[in-house]
Symmetry: C2
């Protein structure tokens, strides 16, 4: 697949690198400096390049949205026409200080995003693990029990694309249902963040659901 | 320990039974019928009995609050003076139809509960797994990697009691921090519920966090 990265910070930079190493063609875009994008592309190998958001979006099979919430409108504007595009978003609707969600409970960042680009196919994924765990999971993807990664969305075809990218990144995808489930997934991300950044065991944290036979 | 069960429905009934089987003295209270309480106590063995909420609270080392949110005020009133008591709550702040949280984002059910009983020591725990998984986890507690159970609260001593009960139930407790983290834990419960009750793999679902060595 050809994957455009909108926002090449910690999450976008690492996920783009992983997608390129997994065999996809990747265009990094929207970083503070052009040099950062070029360095990311060089380090990610021959399938990666640096470009503008419009270049990242052009002919993309999927776009990863990984900007701070305050930058969403700007990057979408720079990306241009996103009709029909699969948008996999890990952008949480955080305030400027990154201390609290600004959209929650009766809506979610993913739902607000979908309203901004109604002709695109928005999937919420990749927000629920810290960037610090991504390379560790990718490099241990041959293990028996991969960590899970939940995702949700309203478009069946787009969900298949997201599930493939989640698998390619070393996780075992868990379909959590329609896009409105992001109302639960986004606060879950803050729980994971609390454990990762305030807990004693460090930020390289993932999770796995386990189904049992029912007894009793 | 002596543990009072306030609300002997699906969660309270099963957890009380598990606590009694783990060696604690348990008093079941607050069910629709007295017969239900007596049946629960009989099935849970010689360490279990049936009583009123006030009898459950008397001399209790911990109280499990497991009523529907609409019943919280009533059961607290019936329980009487809860000063100094450890209250382990798995009561989610759901609306009457159980379709949405009525407290979220800027507060949580656990925090609202703590405001109702300011002299008690409130811990949020046990809400994050479906009742359907409890016996399965308890009966497989000797496995190498137990499922986790997150809990939070502001009182160190009460957190130790809660962690012990979580361990006794077959889980590996994860301290998620202060009580306000219930703002993230309660929506996470709804995510777990979505996977358990709307997903293809059934309701006997638990979860485990996994910490990796950080790479890259």
């Amino acid at each position: 697949m050809r994957i455009g990265i909108l926002g090449s910070g910690l999450m976008g930079g690492k996920l783009g690198t992983i997608f390129a190493r997994a065999g996809h063609e990747v265009v990094f875009s929207y970083s503070k400096t052009k040099g950062k994008l070029e360095r990311l592309a060089r380090d990610a190998g021959s399938r990666a390049s640096a470009g503008s958001p419009a270049e990242a979006a052009r002919d993309a099979d999927a776009l990863l949205l990984a900007v701070h919430w305050s930058r969403v409108d700007d990057v979408l504007k720079q990306a241009g026409n996103l009709s029909g595009k699969v948008i996999v978003s890990c952008s949480l609707p955080m305030n400027a200080k990154d201390t609290a969600l600004v959209v929650a409970h009766t809506s979610s960042g993913a739902e607000q995003l979908a309203k901004k680009i109604p002709k695109a196919r928005v999937i919420s994924a990749f927000s629920t693990v810290p960037s610090e765990v991504l390379f560790s999971v990718f490099e241990s993807a041959n293990r028996a029990a991969r960590p899970n990664l939940v995702y949700c969305g309203d478009d069946t075809k787009a969900k298949k694309v997201a599930a493939q990218l989640i698998t390619d990144a070393g996780f075992d995808p868990v379909d959590a249902g329609p896009l409105r489930i992001a109302r639960f997934i986004e606060p879950f991300t803050l729980l994971v963040g609390q454990l990762a950044y305030e807990g004693p065991r460090g930020p390289a944290l993932a999770y796995r659901f386990e189904w049992f036979d029912e007894r009793g």
